[in-house]
Symmetry: C2
Subunit: 189 residues, 2 copies
Amino acid sequence: MRTKDQDKLQRIKEATVRLILREGIDGASVSKIAKEANVSPATIYIYYDSKEEMLSKVFKEYSRQSYQYLVQHIHPQMEAGELIEVIVRESYTYFVENEEIFSFVEQCSRCPTLCEQVCERECTNELMTLIHEYQRDGRIRACSDWNLWAMIFAPVRFLAMKNKDMACSCNANLDELVQMIQSVFIRHS
Amino acid sequence: MRTKDQDKLQRIKEATVRLILREGIDGASVSKIAKEANVSPATIYIYYDSKEEMLSKVFKEYSRQSYQYLVQHIHPQMEAGELIEVIVRESYTYFVENEEIFSFVEQCSRCPTLCEQVCERECTNELMTLIHEYQRDGRIRACSDWNLWAMIFAPVRFLAMKNKDMACSCNANLDELVQMIQSVFIRHS
DNA sequence: CTTCATTAAACGAACATTCATTTAAGAAAG
DNA sequence: CTTTCTTAAATGAATGTTCGTTTAATGAAG
Protein backbone atom coordinates (compact mmCIF):
# COMPACT_ATOMS: atom_id res chain seq x y z
CA MET A 1 0.00 0.00 0.00
CA ARG A 2 1.11 3.52 -0.71
CA THR A 3 1.54 5.67 2.38
CA LYS A 4 0.19 9.15 2.86
CA ASP A 5 2.80 11.78 2.20
CA GLN A 6 2.92 13.98 5.28
CA ASP A 7 5.07 16.46 3.43
CA LYS A 8 2.31 16.85 0.90
CA LEU A 9 -0.25 17.51 3.61
CA GLN A 10 2.06 20.09 5.11
CA ARG A 11 2.42 21.76 1.73
CA ILE A 12 -1.36 21.97 1.42
CA LYS A 13 -1.67 23.63 4.82
CA GLU A 14 1.06 26.11 4.10
CA ALA A 15 -0.33 26.90 0.69
CA THR A 16 -3.74 27.56 2.20
CA VAL A 17 -2.32 29.94 4.72
CA ARG A 18 -0.03 31.68 2.23
CA LEU A 19 -2.77 32.20 -0.31
CA ILE A 20 -5.20 33.60 2.21
CA LEU A 21 -2.63 36.16 3.28
CA ARG A 22 -2.18 37.24 -0.32
CA GLU A 23 -5.73 37.09 -1.65
CA GLY A 24 -8.01 36.96 1.36
CA ILE A 25 -10.37 34.21 2.40
CA ASP A 26 -12.64 34.73 -0.60
CA GLY A 27 -9.73 34.64 -3.04
CA ALA A 28 -8.43 31.29 -1.93
CA SER A 29 -10.03 28.64 -4.10
CA VAL A 30 -9.29 24.95 -3.94
CA SER A 31 -7.60 24.98 -7.33
CA LYS A 32 -5.41 27.94 -6.44
CA ILE A 33 -4.42 26.27 -3.21
CA ALA A 34 -3.66 23.08 -5.10
CA LYS A 35 -1.50 24.92 -7.61
CA GLU A 36 0.32 26.76 -4.82
CA ALA A 37 1.03 23.43 -3.14
CA ASN A 38 2.06 21.70 -6.37
CA VAL A 39 -0.66 19.17 -5.94
CA SER A 40 -3.76 18.09 -7.79
CA PRO A 41 -7.07 19.50 -6.55
CA ALA A 42 -8.25 15.94 -6.10
CA THR A 43 -5.40 15.22 -3.70
CA ILE A 44 -6.76 17.74 -1.27
CA TYR A 45 -9.92 15.65 -1.00
CA ILE A 46 -7.90 12.69 0.17
CA TYR A 47 -6.92 14.62 3.25
CA TYR A 48 -10.11 16.62 3.75
CA ASP A 49 -13.77 15.96 3.04
CA SER A 50 -14.51 19.47 1.85
CA LYS A 51 -13.04 22.90 1.56
CA GLU A 52 -14.93 23.99 4.64
CA GLU A 53 -13.66 21.10 6.72
CA MET A 54 -10.16 21.85 5.54
CA LEU A 55 -10.33 25.50 6.50
CA SER A 56 -11.73 24.81 9.93
CA LYS A 57 -9.20 22.06 10.65
CA VAL A 58 -6.26 24.16 9.57
CA PHE A 59 -7.74 27.08 11.48
CA LYS A 60 -7.98 25.02 14.63
CA GLU A 61 -4.47 23.67 14.29
CA TYR A 62 -2.86 27.04 13.78
CA SER A 63 -4.96 28.64 16.51
CA ARG A 64 -3.48 26.19 18.93
CA GLN A 65 0.03 26.70 17.64
CA SER A 66 0.43 30.30 18.76
CA TYR A 67 -0.59 29.44 22.28
CA GLN A 68 1.66 26.41 22.38
CA TYR A 69 4.52 28.61 21.29
CA LEU A 70 3.64 30.97 24.11
CA VAL A 71 3.49 28.29 26.76
CA GLN A 72 7.05 27.25 25.96
CA HIS A 73 8.31 30.65 26.97
CA ILE A 74 6.50 30.77 30.28
CA HIS A 75 7.22 29.16 33.61
CA PRO A 76 5.23 29.38 36.83
CA GLN A 77 8.07 30.93 38.85
CA MET A 78 7.95 34.14 36.86
CA GLU A 79 7.25 37.41 38.56
CA ALA A 80 3.91 38.94 37.58
CA GLY A 81 5.33 41.82 35.58
CA GLU A 82 7.63 39.52 33.72
CA LEU A 83 4.80 37.11 32.95
CA ILE A 84 2.82 39.82 31.26
CA GLU A 85 5.85 41.14 29.45
CA VAL A 86 6.73 37.73 28.11
CA ILE A 87 3.18 37.00 27.01
CA VAL A 88 2.93 40.29 25.16
CA ARG A 89 6.41 40.27 23.63
CA GLU A 90 6.41 36.64 22.61
CA SER A 91 2.93 36.88 21.14
CA TYR A 92 4.04 39.83 19.12
CA THR A 93 7.18 38.08 17.97
CA TYR A 94 5.24 35.02 16.95
CA PHE A 95 2.64 37.02 15.06
CA VAL A 96 5.20 39.07 13.18
CA GLU A 97 7.45 36.15 12.36
CA ASN A 98 4.51 34.02 11.26
CA GLU A 99 2.51 36.65 9.49
CA GLU A 100 0.93 34.16 7.10
CA ILE A 101 -0.44 32.06 9.91
CA PHE A 102 -1.39 35.14 11.89
CA SER A 103 -3.29 36.75 9.05
CA PHE A 104 -5.00 33.46 8.31
CA VAL A 105 -6.13 32.95 11.90
CA GLU A 106 -7.28 36.54 12.21
CA GLN A 107 -9.40 36.25 9.10
CA CYS A 108 -10.89 32.93 10.12
CA SER A 109 -11.69 34.12 13.62
CA ARG A 110 -13.86 36.94 12.26
CA CYS A 111 -15.73 34.67 9.88
CA PRO A 112 -18.99 33.59 11.53
CA THR A 113 -19.29 30.36 9.57
CA LEU A 114 -15.83 29.25 10.62
CA CYS A 115 -15.45 30.31 14.21
CA GLU A 116 -18.66 28.72 15.36
CA GLN A 117 -16.91 25.43 14.68
CA VAL A 118 -13.67 26.24 16.45
CA CYS A 119 -13.70 26.82 20.17
CA GLU A 120 -10.79 29.10 20.99
CA ARG A 121 -11.21 28.30 24.63
CA GLU A 122 -9.88 24.80 24.40
CA CYS A 123 -6.68 26.02 22.74
CA THR A 124 -5.75 28.06 25.75
CA ASN A 125 -6.52 26.02 28.81
CA GLU A 126 -2.93 25.64 29.92
CA LEU A 127 -2.21 29.34 29.69
CA MET A 128 -5.46 30.26 31.40
CA THR A 129 -4.84 27.97 34.32
CA LEU A 130 -1.48 29.58 34.93
CA ILE A 131 -2.85 33.12 34.78
CA HIS A 132 -5.70 32.18 37.10
CA GLU A 133 -3.15 31.25 39.75
CA TYR A 134 -1.59 34.68 39.53
CA GLN A 135 -5.02 36.22 39.83
CA ARG A 136 -6.07 34.10 42.75
CA ASP A 137 -3.23 35.26 44.98
CA GLY A 138 -3.46 38.86 43.83
CA ARG A 139 -0.21 39.06 41.91
CA ILE A 140 -2.17 40.24 38.92
CA ARG A 141 -5.54 41.95 38.92
CA ALA A 142 -8.51 39.62 38.96
CA CYS A 143 -11.01 39.95 36.16
CA SER A 144 -13.27 37.90 33.94
CA ASP A 145 -11.67 35.66 31.34
CA TRP A 146 -13.16 37.74 28.59
CA ASN A 147 -11.50 40.85 29.87
CA LEU A 148 -8.25 39.03 30.36
CA TRP A 149 -8.26 38.32 26.66
CA ALA A 150 -9.58 41.74 25.81
CA MET A 151 -6.78 43.53 27.62
CA ILE A 152 -3.87 41.29 26.74
CA PHE A 153 -4.36 39.55 23.45
CA ALA A 154 -6.64 41.94 21.61
CA PRO A 155 -4.12 44.80 21.94
CA VAL A 156 -1.10 42.71 20.90
CA ARG A 157 -2.93 41.28 17.95
CA PHE A 158 -3.98 44.73 16.91
CA LEU A 159 -0.43 46.02 17.10
CA ALA A 160 0.91 43.01 15.23
CA MET A 161 -1.65 43.55 12.51
CA LYS A 162 -0.59 47.14 12.11
CA ASN A 163 3.08 46.22 12.17
CA LYS A 164 3.47 46.73 8.44
CA ASP A 165 1.90 50.17 8.52
CA MET A 166 4.07 51.37 11.35
CA ALA A 167 7.18 53.42 10.85
CA CYS A 168 10.52 52.06 12.09
CA SER A 169 9.53 52.77 15.68
CA CYS A 170 7.65 49.54 16.17
CA ASN A 171 9.89 48.43 19.01
CA ALA A 172 9.15 51.60 20.94
CA ASN A 173 5.45 50.94 20.43
CA LEU A 174 5.77 47.45 21.77
CA ASP A 175 7.72 48.64 24.81
CA GLU A 176 5.01 51.16 25.53
CA LEU A 177 2.28 48.58 25.08
CA VAL A 178 3.93 46.25 27.56
CA GLN A 179 3.96 49.04 30.13
CA MET A 180 0.35 49.93 29.50
CA ILE A 181 -0.86 46.38 29.88
CA GLN A 182 1.24 45.91 33.01
CA SER A 183 -0.36 49.02 34.49
CA VAL A 184 -3.75 47.39 34.13
CA PHE A 185 -2.86 44.20 35.85
CA ILE A 186 -0.24 45.19 38.39
CA ARG A 187 -0.54 47.82 41.13
CA HIS A 188 2.12 50.48 41.83
CA SER A 189 3.91 50.38 38.53
CA MET B 1 -35.54 61.98 -16.06
CA ARG B 2 -35.91 59.01 -13.88
CA THR B 3 -34.10 59.31 -10.57
CA LYS B 4 -31.85 56.70 -8.99
CA ASP B 5 -33.70 54.90 -6.29
CA GLN B 6 -31.81 55.70 -3.09
CA ASP B 7 -33.93 53.25 -1.19
CA LYS B 8 -32.72 50.56 -3.54
CA LEU B 9 -29.11 51.51 -2.93
CA GLN B 10 -29.71 51.36 0.78
CA ARG B 11 -31.27 47.94 0.41
CA ILE B 12 -28.18 46.75 -1.45
CA LYS B 13 -25.87 47.98 1.27
CA GLU B 14 -27.91 46.40 4.01
CA ALA B 15 -28.21 43.15 2.14
CA THR B 16 -24.45 43.03 1.68
CA VAL B 17 -23.85 43.52 5.33
CA ARG B 18 -26.57 41.10 6.40
CA LEU B 19 -25.38 38.35 4.10
CA ILE B 20 -21.76 38.66 5.18
CA LEU B 21 -22.80 38.26 8.79
CA ARG B 22 -24.67 35.09 7.90
CA GLU B 23 -22.37 33.45 5.38
CA GLY B 24 -19.01 35.15 5.72
CA ILE B 25 -17.17 37.20 3.17
CA ASP B 26 -16.60 34.28 0.83
CA GLY B 27 -20.23 33.26 0.93
CA ALA B 28 -21.56 36.63 -0.17
CA SER B 29 -21.92 36.53 -3.93
CA VAL B 30 -23.39 39.29 -6.05
CA SER B 31 -26.43 37.24 -6.93
CA LYS B 32 -27.12 36.31 -3.33
CA ILE B 33 -26.80 39.93 -2.32
CA ALA B 34 -29.14 40.92 -5.14
CA LYS B 35 -31.70 38.37 -4.10
CA GLU B 36 -31.44 39.45 -0.47
CA ALA B 37 -32.05 43.05 -1.56
CA ASN B 38 -34.92 42.13 -3.89
CA VAL B 39 -33.05 43.53 -6.83
CA SER B 40 -31.53 42.25 -10.03
CA PRO B 41 -27.80 41.56 -10.04
CA ALA B 42 -27.45 44.04 -12.87
CA THR B 43 -28.86 46.81 -10.72
CA ILE B 44 -25.91 46.52 -8.42
CA TYR B 45 -23.67 47.40 -11.34
CA ILE B 46 -25.52 50.66 -11.81
CA TYR B 47 -24.40 51.78 -8.40
CA TYR B 48 -20.99 50.12 -8.34
CA ASP B 49 -18.42 49.27 -10.98
CA SER B 50 -17.52 45.92 -9.53
CA LYS B 51 -18.05 43.73 -6.55
CA GLU B 52 -14.69 44.76 -5.17
CA GLU B 53 -15.44 48.46 -5.47
CA MET B 54 -18.76 47.87 -3.83
CA LEU B 55 -17.29 46.04 -0.87
CA SER B 56 -14.61 48.63 -0.30
CA LYS B 57 -17.06 51.54 -0.57
CA VAL B 58 -19.53 49.97 1.80
CA PHE B 59 -16.67 49.04 4.07
CA LYS B 60 -15.42 52.60 4.10
CA GLU B 61 -18.85 54.04 4.73
CA TYR B 62 -19.66 51.78 7.61
CA SER B 63 -16.18 52.18 9.09
CA ARG B 64 -16.81 55.88 9.32
CA GLN B 65 -20.28 55.41 10.73
CA SER B 66 -19.25 53.88 14.02
CA TYR B 67 -16.88 56.75 14.72
CA GLN B 68 -19.43 59.34 13.73
CA TYR B 69 -21.86 57.74 16.12
CA LEU B 70 -19.20 57.97 18.78
CA VAL B 71 -18.41 61.62 18.16
CA GLN B 72 -22.04 62.53 18.73
CA HIS B 73 -21.83 61.30 22.28
CA ILE B 74 -18.66 63.16 23.14
CA HIS B 75 -18.01 66.78 24.03
CA PRO B 76 -14.70 68.46 24.84
CA GLN B 77 -15.73 69.50 28.33
CA MET B 78 -15.87 65.96 29.56
CA GLU B 79 -13.71 64.83 32.40
CA ALA B 80 -11.02 62.34 31.35
CA GLY B 81 -12.52 59.33 33.09
CA GLU B 82 -15.90 60.07 31.62
CA LEU B 83 -14.45 60.45 28.15
CA ILE B 84 -12.98 56.99 28.24
CA GLU B 85 -16.10 55.53 29.76
CA VAL B 86 -18.28 57.05 27.08
CA ILE B 87 -16.01 55.93 24.28
CA VAL B 88 -15.92 52.38 25.55
CA ARG B 89 -19.59 52.09 26.45
CA GLU B 90 -20.95 53.78 23.37
CA SER B 91 -18.67 51.79 21.10
CA TYR B 92 -19.89 48.63 22.71
CA THR B 93 -23.50 49.68 22.42
CA TYR B 94 -23.06 50.55 18.78
CA PHE B 95 -21.33 47.28 17.97
CA VAL B 96 -23.92 45.17 19.71
CA GLU B 97 -26.89 47.05 18.33
CA ASN B 98 -25.46 46.99 14.82
CA GLU B 99 -24.01 43.54 14.82
CA GLU B 100 -24.42 43.11 11.06
CA ILE B 101 -22.40 46.21 10.33
CA PHE B 102 -19.93 45.36 13.04
CA SER B 103 -19.30 41.84 11.81
CA PHE B 104 -19.00 43.13 8.27
CA VAL B 105 -16.43 45.77 9.19
CA GLU B 106 -14.48 43.33 11.32
CA GLN B 107 -14.26 40.85 8.48
CA CYS B 108 -13.28 43.45 5.94
CA SER B 109 -10.64 44.96 8.16
CA ARG B 110 -8.81 41.63 8.38
CA CYS B 111 -8.96 41.01 4.63
CA PRO B 112 -5.63 42.10 3.11
CA THR B 113 -7.11 42.86 -0.30
CA LEU B 114 -9.74 45.14 1.17
CA CYS B 115 -8.08 47.05 3.94
CA GLU B 116 -5.17 48.22 1.85
CA GLN B 117 -7.74 50.32 0.03
CA VAL B 118 -9.43 51.77 3.06
CA CYS B 119 -7.42 54.00 5.36
CA GLU B 120 -8.98 53.73 8.79
CA ARG B 121 -7.03 56.77 9.87
CA GLU B 122 -9.10 59.25 7.94
CA CYS B 123 -12.31 57.99 9.54
CA THR B 124 -11.15 58.97 12.96
CA ASN B 125 -9.50 62.35 12.67
CA GLU B 126 -12.06 64.20 14.74
CA LEU B 127 -11.93 61.72 17.57
CA MET B 128 -8.14 61.60 17.50
CA THR B 129 -7.77 65.34 17.66
CA LEU B 130 -9.91 65.46 20.76
CA ILE B 131 -8.04 62.69 22.51
CA HIS B 132 -4.71 64.29 21.65
CA GLU B 133 -5.78 67.39 23.57
CA TYR B 134 -6.43 65.30 26.64
CA GLN B 135 -3.05 63.68 26.21
CA ARG B 136 -1.21 66.95 25.70
CA ASP B 137 -2.23 68.42 29.04
CA GLY B 138 -1.80 65.14 30.89
CA ARG B 139 -5.43 64.40 31.64
CA ILE B 140 -4.98 61.03 30.02
CA ARG B 141 -1.73 59.13 29.61
CA ALA B 142 0.24 60.02 26.51
CA CYS B 143 1.07 57.25 24.10
CA SER B 144 1.44 56.51 20.43
CA ASP B 145 -1.69 56.52 18.30
CA TRP B 146 -1.29 52.83 17.63
CA ASN B 147 -1.34 52.05 21.32
CA LEU B 148 -4.27 54.35 21.85
CA TRP B 149 -6.22 52.18 19.46
CA ALA B 150 -4.73 49.01 20.82
CA MET B 151 -5.80 49.75 24.37
CA ILE B 152 -9.21 51.27 23.75
CA PHE B 153 -10.78 49.96 20.59
CA ALA B 154 -9.20 46.56 20.26
CA PRO B 155 -10.51 45.47 23.68
CA VAL B 156 -14.04 46.81 23.13
CA ARG B 157 -14.27 45.25 19.73
CA PHE B 158 -13.09 41.97 21.14
CA LEU B 159 -15.68 42.05 23.88
CA ALA B 160 -18.41 43.04 21.45
CA MET B 161 -17.44 40.16 19.19
CA LYS B 162 -17.70 37.71 22.06
CA ASN B 163 -20.97 39.21 23.23
CA LYS B 164 -22.99 36.32 21.88
CA ASP B 165 -20.83 33.71 23.58
CA MET B 166 -21.03 35.43 26.95
CA ALA B 167 -23.44 34.42 29.63
CA CYS B 168 -25.96 36.97 30.93
CA SER B 169 -23.23 38.83 32.77
CA CYS B 170 -22.16 40.92 29.83
CA ASN B 171 -22.93 44.18 31.58
CA ALA B 172 -20.64 43.29 34.44
CA ASN B 173 -17.92 42.51 31.93
CA LEU B 174 -18.34 45.86 30.29
CA ASP B 175 -18.22 47.68 33.63
CA GLU B 176 -15.02 45.90 34.45
CA LEU B 177 -13.53 46.66 31.08
CA VAL B 178 -14.25 50.35 31.49
CA GLN B 179 -12.38 50.34 34.78
CA MET B 180 -9.44 48.47 33.34
CA ILE B 181 -9.05 50.82 30.43
CA GLN B 182 -9.40 53.83 32.70
CA SER B 183 -6.64 52.47 34.88
CA VAL B 184 -4.32 52.51 31.89
CA PHE B 185 -4.96 56.08 30.93
CA ILE B 186 -5.70 57.83 34.20
CA ARG B 187 -3.52 57.96 37.29
CA HIS B 188 -4.83 57.32 40.84
CA SER B 189 -7.94 55.42 39.95
C1' DC C 1 15.96 -12.05 -4.86
C1' DT C 2 12.32 -11.76 -8.22
C1' DT C 3 7.68 -11.56 -9.60
C1' DC C 4 2.86 -10.20 -9.02
C1' DA C 5 -1.42 -9.13 -7.05
C1' DT C 6 -3.32 -5.74 -3.71
C1' DT C 7 -4.19 -1.41 -1.84
C1' DA C 8 -4.46 3.35 -1.30
C1' DA C 9 -2.34 7.71 -2.77
C1' DA C 10 -2.11 10.82 -6.50
C1' DC C 11 -3.38 12.79 -10.65
C1' DG C 12 -5.46 15.35 -14.77
C1' DA C 13 -9.62 15.85 -16.90
C1' DA C 14 -14.29 16.51 -16.51
C1' DC C 15 -18.60 17.42 -13.77
C1' DA C 16 -22.53 20.44 -12.65
C1' DT C 17 -23.02 24.61 -10.49
C1' DT C 18 -22.23 29.18 -9.37
C1' DC C 19 -19.61 33.12 -10.12
C1' DA C 20 -19.10 38.25 -11.64
C1' DT C 21 -20.37 40.77 -15.36
C1' DT C 22 -22.74 42.26 -19.89
C1' DT C 23 -26.43 42.65 -23.14
C1' DA C 24 -30.66 43.87 -25.00
C1' DA C 25 -35.06 45.18 -24.29
C1' DG C 26 -38.76 47.08 -21.34
C1' DA C 27 -40.61 50.43 -17.90
C1' DA C 28 -40.81 54.89 -15.71
C1' DA C 29 -40.21 59.65 -15.48
C1' DG C 30 -39.22 64.05 -17.50
C1' DC D 1 -40.16 61.38 -27.73
C1' DT D 2 -36.02 61.14 -24.96
C1' DT D 3 -33.48 59.75 -21.27
C1' DT D 4 -32.39 57.00 -17.54
C1' DC D 5 -33.35 53.22 -14.57
C1' DT D 6 -34.24 48.40 -14.14
C1' DT D 7 -34.30 43.84 -15.25
C1' DA D 8 -34.40 38.91 -17.15
C1' DA D 9 -31.53 36.39 -19.67
C1' DA D 10 -27.18 35.13 -21.22
C1' DT D 11 -22.04 35.31 -21.06
C1' DG D 12 -17.58 32.91 -20.30
C1' DA D 13 -14.77 32.03 -16.55
C1' DA D 14 -14.14 29.91 -12.19
C1' DT D 15 -15.93 27.38 -8.42
C1' DG D 16 -15.94 22.93 -5.43
C1' DT D 17 -16.08 18.18 -6.17
C1' DT D 18 -15.86 13.53 -8.46
C1' DC D 19 -14.22 10.11 -12.01
C1' DG D 20 -11.26 6.93 -14.18
C1' DT D 21 -6.73 6.02 -14.39
C1' DT D 22 -1.92 5.74 -13.07
C1' DT D 23 1.70 5.39 -9.64
C1' DA D 24 4.06 3.72 -5.76
C1' DA D 25 4.53 1.00 -1.73
C1' DT D 26 3.58 -3.43 0.50
C1' DG D 27 3.40 -8.53 1.36
C1' DA D 28 2.83 -13.24 -0.47
C1' DA D 29 4.19 -16.72 -3.70
C1' DG D 30 7.59 -18.84 -6.50
